[in-house]
Amino acid sequence: MILDIEEQDLKSAVLGLVVALVEIIQETLRLQAIKRMEAGSLTEEAVERLGEALMDLDEAIRKMKIEMGITESVKAIRDGLDSAVNEIIDTIVPSQHLAVQPLAADGYYAQR
């Protein structure tokens, strides 16, 4: 049995984990930074760099959340495609090549 793991499902799961993790890291960093800043143990330069690093993390998280949103939306699209696809196929391929034979009166498929 081959597991058909949909790419989008995998992507969605991984993204979710990464975002959760990065947010925790970011919050920890932020708290540490504030503590040390208030204790006076950071130079102005260091504070500036930390600030920028946290801003970068913010931006990275934001981008990942957008990516997650897209992935979720695509999954929803995929799940709703069945009827649309049938409709398309009916228009692009002449139907007699694909027609299911109607049941004969006695319930069996009619002779070809």
């Binding site: 997650m68 949103g69 939306s73 699209i77 995929r78 709703g80 495609l81 649309a84 696809v85 090549h97």
Partner: protein, 272 residues
């Protein structure tokens, strides 16, 4: 007038505390130092007033210090709308509000609710003021883009050589084989549409990003009537950028198989 609620949540209803109005229901925080009273404007006709702290105020009404439970569907609707009405009114009057999450009620402990709320306003003053000032001249809009996958799919099929080949194969094959080919065609089409969906979404975001101050990608819902919701966005848009956004959406809505719905302007619920 206190209602004994139907149990909506599986918890026992709290004992009625008719005369205890020590709680404060908070509608929003607004960029203002004005002291106002709005009689009868709030939920269940309560009077709403501003609790001012140095240029940043909370709009509240007095209530018993327990969660509101609607006593029925109509009551719930009234409640939601009354809440939004107050937020909306504050927004149009003072230009910037931070709506509170629904059913925010401040209680008293060592200090009474009024003191607790005032202290919170003071503690958060800088942050609240910064955020409120950042929201001046901006509004939230809901952007929903729909597509008709059948229409777009026909285009996708027309451009994909593998699909073209399969079409021919099906025409020239006996039924059994044609059936198998059809399965393959289905898969190819689905993959193609999926890829196209991703492309359209990324394209859309690229175009709309410069038209917004911020945006969130929301969950899509059922489009209905054969359409699918391709993308559901909450956008924070300043007044200057709005025409640009509308222009982009206009162009998009004219494309074959695409339609757009724009809801707003709304106070910035999603960007608090």
């Amino acid at each position: 007038m206190i209602q004994i609620s139907e149990d909506q949540s599986g918890l026992p209803a709290p004992a009625p505390e008719k005369y205890d109005q020590s709680g404060r229901y908070v509608y929003c925080v607004a960029l203002t130092g004005e002291e106002v009273i709005l009689e009868g404007a709030g939920i269940e006709g309560r009077s709403v007033y501003s609790l001012v702290n140095r240029g940043v105020s909370a709009l509240v009404h007095d209530c018993s210090p327990q969660l509101y439970r609607p006593s029925g569907q109509n009551a719930a609707a009234e409640w939601v709308l009354a809440h939004h009405r107050v937020v909306q009114a504050a927004w149009s009057r003072w230009g910037s509000v931070l709506p509170m999450v629904f059913n925010t009620i401040v209680k008293g402990d060592r200090y009474n609710a009024q003191e607790n709320l005032t202290k919170w306003l003071e503690r958060e003053h800088r942050s609240l003021q910064n955020r409120l000032e950042a929201f001046v001249g901006k509004a939230e809009y809901g952007v929903q883009v729909f597509w008709d996958p059948a229409a777009v799919g026909a285009e996708v099929a027309g451009k994909d050589p593998a699909i073209q080949m399969l079409e021919k194969d099906i025409e020239n094959s006996p039924r059994g084989l044609a059936y198998m080919y059809r399965q393959k065609l289905e898969r190819l089409l689905k993959k193609g549409l999926e890829a196209r969906a991703v492309q359209e979404m990324e394209n859309l975001i690229q175009r709309l990003n410069p038209c917004t101050d911020n945006f969130r990608v929301e969950k899509t819902k059922d489009g209905g009537d054969g359409r699918q919701m391709l993308m559901n966005l909450s956008c924070l848009v300043c007044n200057e950028r709005l025409p640009g956004l509308e222009a982009q959406l206009d162009v998009l809505s004219k494309r074959e198989g695409f339609s757009v719905r724009l809801a707003g302007p709304l106070p910035p619920y999603s960007f608090c």
